[in-house]
């Protein structure tokens, strides 16, 4: 039964099985490669084969961007107040409660002060897994306070966005967060404090139409969806298929609305470089 003893190279695993302890495996959305979690983490959650960037949360970015153990979080437990007493198919308060329980986060952004290669910076990072990274009163307030802290102490500001847009369940309150954060940024700019905005997959709607697009430097991770309207809405409006690569980082770079597309591995270094070049 010689056909049983396969020895073809192309079906052998990339790594020997004994090297990998029991754990979870992830399938790459880009190329279908099956990658072990540990390996993925070592590679900063980018595919070892095709470089696809997996969506990650604020804790991962804190580990990637900031010096180990340097992050001091602000307003950690600020939570949504449900100002409209909003109910759709579910009560907004229960939606928030469930998400807090499931994600271990209190809302869609974490903010604080940390060190990047020993430089003190203001750091904010959104979490897409918290109701689509949507911006409501909490996100608006935390971002605004972070900006104000940077204004006061002249800390360079870095915000990593990952958001579908404004949070519908807070109605006009959510909308006003766009004006609130943008006006704080205007004040920060007058003080000549640098602001670096990092766009990750996805950055759309009210978030992109406010602080995400207002960086002195705007950096995007490769292949992230970046835009105002979502692709489905645009497709409906124009009644045509969208061109390949539409609203991806590279497309937005080509159209002149971001400065750099940077792989996750080089993100920290790029930010560091920019901060030192302008200070």
């Amino acid at each position: 039964m010689s056909w049983f003893n396969r020895s073809k190279e192309n079906i052998s695993p990339d790594t020997m099985k004994k090297d990998i302890p029991d754990g979870l495996w992830e399938k790459c959305e880009g190329c279908g490669e099956i990658i072990h979690n540990k390996q993925l983490e070592q590679n900063l959650w980018t595919c070892i084969k095709c470089g696809f960037h997996f969506r990650i949360g604020s804790q991962e970015y804190i580990n990637i961007i900031l010096d180990k153990g340097s992050f001091r979080e602000m307003d950690k437990k600020m939570r949504s107040a449900d100002p409209l007493d909003f109910t759709d198919t579910k009560k907004y308060t229960s939606r928030v409660q469930e998400t807090i329980k499931k994600s271990g986060l209190y809302d869609a952004v974490r903010t604080g002060i940390g060190k990047l290669n020993n430089i003190e910076i203001g750091f904010g990072c959104m979490d897409f897994k918290f109701i689509g990274g949507s911006m409501g009163s909490v996100v608006g307030e935390k971002i605004s306070r972070l900006i104000d802290r940077c204004y006061r102490y002249k800390y360079p500001l870095v915000i990593i966005s990952a958001s579908g847009g404004a949070r519908m369940m807070e109605g006009a309150y959510s909308l006003m967060q766009m004006a609130k954060t943008s006006s704080r940024l205007a004040r920060l700019a007058e003080a000549k404090v640098p602001y670096i905005s990092i766009l990750t997959d996805p950055t759309t709607g009210g978030t992109s139409a406010s602080y995400a697009m207002l960086g002195d430097f705007i950096i995007a991770e490769p292949q992230a969806l970046i835009g105002f309207a979502g692709p489905r809405v645009i497709k409906q409006t124009i009644g045509k298929d969208l061109p390949e690569g539409f609203q991806k980082s590279e497309f937005v770079l080509e159209h002149g609305f971001i400065d750099i597309v940077t792989p996750r591995k080089e993100l920290k270094n790029t930010i560091f470089n920019l901060i030192t070049l302008v200070s």
Partner: protein, 316 residues
């Protein structure tokens, strides 16, 4: 144009039509007293109806095809209006209009969304949905006002910023974000008036003001009831519920402290009497401007910053 009657207004319009008919055919019959009596009854009914509109009914009034638009108000309230065109980068967006004008004793820059009345003019105006060049034109005009130290009045009436392919290519998000940024530090007074629909970032893109007023039958929120229904209920059928849930009317927003003042409309809505609607609004604008022009530039910027900083509800 034939009179457009919304579903919920029909009973009243039918009664009014009947009264007209009675009057026409009364001839020598002595029924004038009777007619007056019925007229008064109808007026009561009308007051009850319009004072107790559901949120969805207000949304319908805000979208009434005969509702006065920015240019109607400009022509009824101001003199010497000179419309200015173009963003100086790409083209002239017809869904936002603007220019210098004189209102009472104030020379002002007045900017607003502009819808069309029929298919042809709606296509021309892109249904009041601006592309990035619209927001950039608005900003250019605001900067011009700042240069010549003239107050800015903006009028909001849009179903949203245009969600098109070219709009994305030309940076719709950046254009709106830039306006929020620049408007917040403009050194002249900004008076914002929502005159119809205030849909999301497309509305706010010209909406960062020292004072934000809303006509009685308008809506202003982060999303339209229809889109909200389609996303949260996964069907277009729940627009009435979505409108209720979003709390998007003028009284709602005043209650949420997100606007400063409600401007009354003639009974039945601004479309029933353009002149009256414009007269009321003009009076309010003059009142507001009289106060605003007294403030120093630094104070104006500071007030605007503080005003928007306060918006939001959360638990600490």
């Amino acid at each position: 144009m034939a009179k457009i009657v919304l579903d919920f207004e029909k009973p009243i319009f039918d009664l009014e039509a009947k009264i007209d008919e009675m009057r026409k055919f009364s001839g020598n019959l002595n029924i004038e007293k009777e007619i007056v009596r019925i007229e008064e009854k109808v007026k009561k009914l009308k007051e009850n109806l319009y004072n107790d509109l559901t949120r969805w009914q207000r949304v319908q009034l805000a979208r009434h095809p005969e509702r006065p638009y920015t240019l109607d108000y400009i022509y009824l309230m101001t003199e010497n209006f000179v419309e200015l065109h173009g963003d100086r980068y790409f083209k002239d967006d017809k869904s936002i209009v603007g220019g210098f004008a004189k209102i009472d004793n104030f020379n002002v820059m007045i900017i607003g969304h502009q819808k069309g009345r029929d298919t042809k003019s709606n296509v021309f105006r892109n249904f009041g949905m601006p592309n990035p060049e619209g927001y950039r034109k608005a900003l250019r005009l605001m900067k011009l006002a700042e240069k010549f130290n003239k107050p800015v009045i903006t009028m909001i009436d849009t179903p949203g910023a245009y969600p098109g392919l070219e709009a994305e290519e030309r940076g719709q998000a950046e254009a709106i974000a830039r306006n929020l940024f620049e408007m917040s530090k403009l050194k002249v007074p900004i008076l914002v008036i929502i005159i119809g629909e205030g849909a999301s970032g497309g509305a706010l893109g010209i909406g960062v003001g020292n004072r934000v007023l809303m006509l009685e039958n308008c809506w202003y929120s982060v999303i339209s009831p229809e889109s909200c229904s389609s996303i949260l209920w996964r069907s277009w059928e729940f627009k009435e519920q979505a409108a209720e849930a979003l709390k998007l009317t003028a009284p709602d927003l005043l209650n949420q402290k997100l606007i400063d003042r409600i401007v009354p409309e003639p009974l039945g809505g601004a479309h029933t009497d353009y002149k009256e609607a414009a007269t009321i609004l003009k009076k309010v604008i003059i009142e507001e401007l009289t106060h605003l022009v007294k403030l120093k530039p630094e104070k104006l910027v500071e007030n605007r910053l503080e005003k928007f900083s306060k918006m939001g509800e959360f638990i600490e």
